[in-house]
Structure formats: C-alpha cells, structure tokens
Amino acid sequence: MMRKLLLLIPALLATVLVGVVQIGLAQNTDITSWISGQGGKPALAVTEFRGSGTQPFMGAFNSTLFSDLQSSSVFEMKSRSLFPLANPQRPEDLRQEDNKQGYALQDWSGAPVGASHVVFGYSAAVNGVLVLYGYVYDARQTDIQAAQLLYGRYTGTLDDAGAIKTAHEFANDIIQKFGGTGSLLGSRIYFVSNRSGNQEIWTMDWDGNNQKQLTNLKSISITPGISPDGSRLAFTTYARVSPRIMVLNTETGRPQPFYNQEASLNTTPNFSPDGKLLYYASTASGSSQIVVAGADGQGFRRVSHRNAVEVEPKVNPKNPGILLFVSGPGAQQIYRMNSDGAAVERVTNGEGEASNPAWHPDGQHIAFSWTRGYAAGDWNVFVMDVGTKQYVQLTHSEGKNENPTWAPDGRHLVFASNRSGRTQLYTMLADGTQVKQLTQQGTNKYPVWGSK
C-alpha cells in the first residue's frame, strides 16, 4: 500500500506539472494572439484611384490611403500584383459576371486575390475643388446591392495636400467601419528634445511630420503626460530651479495655472481619464510618494504612505479606481493599488527592474520597460496582460528601449531607443513589427501619444 502511494506521487506530480505547462502555454498564446491580432483580419484589395482633372495628385492619394490602412494593422493588405487588369471606379461599373475582367466582386474574392473587401473610387475637379468618391464593397457577397459597406464623399484643395487630406479621412472612415478602436488621424506625439540646446517639449504628427517646439524654458523639461482629450500637457521642469510640474495648453503652448505643493520634487504627472485630476509623485512628505490634486493643483492629497521611492502613477483608463506605479523596496518594479492607497500589490514578478507602465486603451494590457533577462540598464519593451500577468517581449536588446506609450488606436506604440546611437523615437505595432524611426535631430525621449 505504502509502496503504491510512493509510486503514485511522482506520477501525480508529473500530471500536475504537465497541467501547469499547458496552462502556461495556453495563456502565452492568449497574449501573443492578442498582440498580433492576426485571426479574422479583413483582407483588403485597395485599387488604384484615378482622377478626372485631378490625376497629378492621385499618386499622393493612393500611397497615403494604402499606408494609412496598412499601418492601422486592422487589415491584411492584398498584393496589387495579383489584381485583375481592370477595376471598378463607380458602383455602376460592377457586374454579376464579367469573365474575370475585374468588374465582378468574385474577381476580387476568388483566387488569386483572395480579398474579403475591395476598395475603389475616383476623384474629380469640381468648381476648383478636389472631390473624392470612395467605396468599400464586401467581395464575398453575391448581391451587389447588399455588398456596399461604405460610401464616402470627401473634399480637398486641388493639390497634393488636398488629395492627402481626403485619403486620411477616407482611411479613417474605413478603419472605424471595421471596428478599429480609433484612428491615428489627427493624433500627435509629444516628447522631449534637446535639439535647440536645452531639453524642451516638442510635438509632431503621429507619422513624424511637422516637428515643432512647444516650450522655450531654457532649462530641463521632462516626463510629459497628456490629458485624454489631448488639450493639456503636464510635465516636470527645472525652470524655477526645483523640479516642478507645469501644465500647458497644447494648442497655444501657454502655461495654465497649476499650484505646486511645496516639495523638493514634484514629478511624473498623469491625468485621470476624465482629465479632472492630476496624479503625480511628490516629496512633500519626505520620500517621493504618489499624490493627487485637481488639474489646477488645488486639493492636494497623499495617496500612498509607503516608505519606498514611488514614481509614475498611471490611472487605469477604464477604471479610475486603479493605479499602477513604479516603486521599490529593492529593485524598481511595477505595482498596482487602489486610488485610495489600499490593496498595494506587485504586478511584475520581481525579476530585473521594471518601469514606464503605459495602459492600453482597453484598461487590461500595459506596455512597459523591463530589464528582465538582461543587465541593469538594458531596457526592453514588453506587453503584459495585467489580469493574467502573462507577458510578451517586443524589442530584443537593440540598445535601450524605454518609455513605450500606446497610440489612441491601441495598435501602435511609440518608444525611445538608442539602437542607432543617440536616443531617438520609434513607432511599432503592438506585435513589435513595422518599426519606424520618427526623429533624427538631437536626442529625443519621453514620448507620449495624444489624441490631438
């Protein structure tokens, strides 16, 4: 009897271990599939649009439309080399059957194109204005009338800029139609650059265009945080010697009133989802701790009472009662707590050093920087499901990779990396692909992605 039991124990252990491994794999697959989002992507065939009196601008239009749709990562983009020789430009061009000329929907859904949807249209000069007619049809439908998914009419100036504008707007509508959580159109990245000689706050379009300086404080300005509506930017500045928080109107660049609690350090500001509160780290009570105040700095109160360095409060966008922050004791890790300071719990597993938590718009996942598996200071970007604690590594030791933050679409990340020498800003998709460098001049750090 005893012997039998002894024999059973390893067998039981083995079963339990296999179970654990399987659960681990299953969960790993979950986070992996979440970030890649490959399953069930609409397959788009985007045809070349032509113009009547606007043809010189259609090159800019076609490349912008394609690139917006591709970089949204909402779609699988079908290769143009497999397209039929002709394509519809207006709904009335569509036929039930056309011997694979390109005017029938099944010419696009069948082999070799294999698209689920076809995007077509054209532009014309009307009274000195560029008018763009854009259509999306479900290529798998047999009934042409029922196949129309989207029709839009867009206007712009009679030049490349006007054509690009209509392409952005049309792409935005397509992305939203397919359930994209939001478009990058109009979103802006705010960051810190030293290219003018001092660390100032700068801003640029989400694709790196239109880089311009917002502050001229001639000091050190760092750790920006953007309000959810993109109208205000809070950051730390040494402009008045001691590190203090300043809040700017992002449109005018003008400072807004903010009362700084008396302290040797007020830093790492973060707006609440409704934009009415500002969480930050302050040494008002001694060591750096998480505090909260109104967006004007009034109504200051302490949130946590722990005796460890605490910085980077990050309010959950879906549940403002939950905060993440970065703290010790020991090596810095990411922690969570309730917004009243209760229920403090470590989120990262204690390996290496962890920092820069950034909530995904879904309030469930975070991007963050971690040195797990590397020497201290060798930061890489990771994504984690805060509920299951499963994580995926997105960068792999190409220099230091820090401060990842999500785009409003929840599919793109911007981060800072010194992979090419000096620290520059890069965007990538949530699965780590399509890495694109946005900045070149000086050193550029601390990016945040605003909805405008």
Binding site: I220, T267, S287, A331, E353, S355, N356, S369, A376, W379
Partner: protein, 279 residues
Amino acid sequence: MTTKVSSNASSPVRSTRSATSKWVGISLTMLLLVAASGCKKKVPVPPPPPPVAPAAVVTPPAPARANVAEFVAEPATIERGQSANLRWAVTGSNDVVIDNGIGTVPANGSRTVRPAESTTYTLTANGLGGTVTKTARIVVTAPPPPPPPPAPAVDRRGTVESRIQSDLKDTLYDYDSNNIRDDARAALTANADALKRIFADFPSATIAVEGHCDERGSAEYNLGLGDRRSNSARDFLIQLGIPAEKLKPISYGKERPQCTEASEGCYQSNRRAHFASGQ
C-alpha cells in the same frame, strides 16, 4: 649698488678717450648718451649721506661761537596734508631764524609745519663768532591713489563657488541606494567643517545639495532616488550642526551626468550627492 654705478659711469669715459676717428667718436658719443640715459632710468644716484656731526667737539674753546646742535624734521617724509615736526637746539646765539615763513625762533624749540611740497628748511644762527646754518628737509609725497572699488557681487559669488568646488567633496553611493557608506561618512564630516568655514566667510551663501544617479535605473525612478540621496547627505550635515535652511535639496536623477561612459567607474562617479552654490 655703488659698484654698479661707478662702472657704468667710468667705462664710457675710457671709450671716448680711445676714440681716434670722427665717426667712431660720434657713435661712441651716442653710445654714451644711450648708456647715460639708461643709467638715469635705472637707478637714481642717492645723495651722499650727510656727514655725521661730531658730538663731542662742541664745547669749551670758543664759548661765544654759535652752534647748531640739532635741526631735524620728524618725520622726514610725509604725505601731502600731513604735518611734520621741526626740532632744533642752538647754543651761543640769541638770533635764530628759520626760513620758509617761520621767522625768528627761540634757541631751543620745535614747530609743527605742514608743507605742501618738499621743502628744505634752513636754520640760521647768528652768534658772536659768526653765522652758522643748518638745513632740514621734509619730503612731501603724493597721497596714495584711492583704494580700488570693492569687487562686484558676481566676483564674490565666484569666490563662494570656487570655495564650494575646492572644499566640498562628493558623497558617493551604492547602486539603487541612499545609504551613507563609511567613505561617505568621512567625506560628509569633512564637508561639515568646510561648510562652517564657508558660511563664516559668506554668511548669505546657501548650498544646493544635488542628488545624482547613474544611467541604468529608469529616469523617473532616479528622480525619486536622487532626491533621497540629496536628503540623506543633507540630513547628515544637519546632524553635524549645519543649519537646515542653508542646504537646499534638489534631485537631478540621471539628467545631468558628469560622465557618460558605460563603465562601473563612470557609474560610481555619477551616483553622488554633489554640492553647488544655492543661488
């Protein structure tokens, strides 16, 4: 000095004598002029010392003969606007006169004078045996130029800064720590003494206690860690008697490294509390 003067003076003379041709003569004359003018510039020849008055010779043989035992100016050199004292002692005369507006004076006496320029006073004593004169010279010098204006405030601050830089040593820390190590304890104790001297010399000075970190921890966390370093060094100095209000804590995290290499030597030099002028 004497030898130098005599050689300078005598050698050109010999050269002139040995000259035969006109050209040589002219050139040597010029040389003489150059040498002479050079000599004038270099060392003014001092007047010969006055002969020492034989002290004992004065007495019996001709009792009626006037004798100036003493005529001195004290001090012999004054600045313009100051006064000097003339003192004299004359025997064998009832008619003693000092020039320069002093006039007839008693045989023994003194007078305060305030000459505007260097003046030689001549005392004339008329006695039965004849007239004796003696001079006393008061040299008047120009007053010294006004003192330079006090150094502007910036220079004075520069001095505070140079004192801070030379007298106050960085306090070094372990990675991710604000504990005061033994070497830091010694450095801070020496800094406390230096600070007391600096505040004695510059009572209005304040000191920024800067907390710095190496580049490895995240920038945000290092702001908090740097603040702890700044405050641990500051608290230690306060315990050693430095007034708290003189020491301003400020954390720079890893925003202002003094060294940017990826090596432990560089990391260690950046993990520090650093002292700078608080203004």
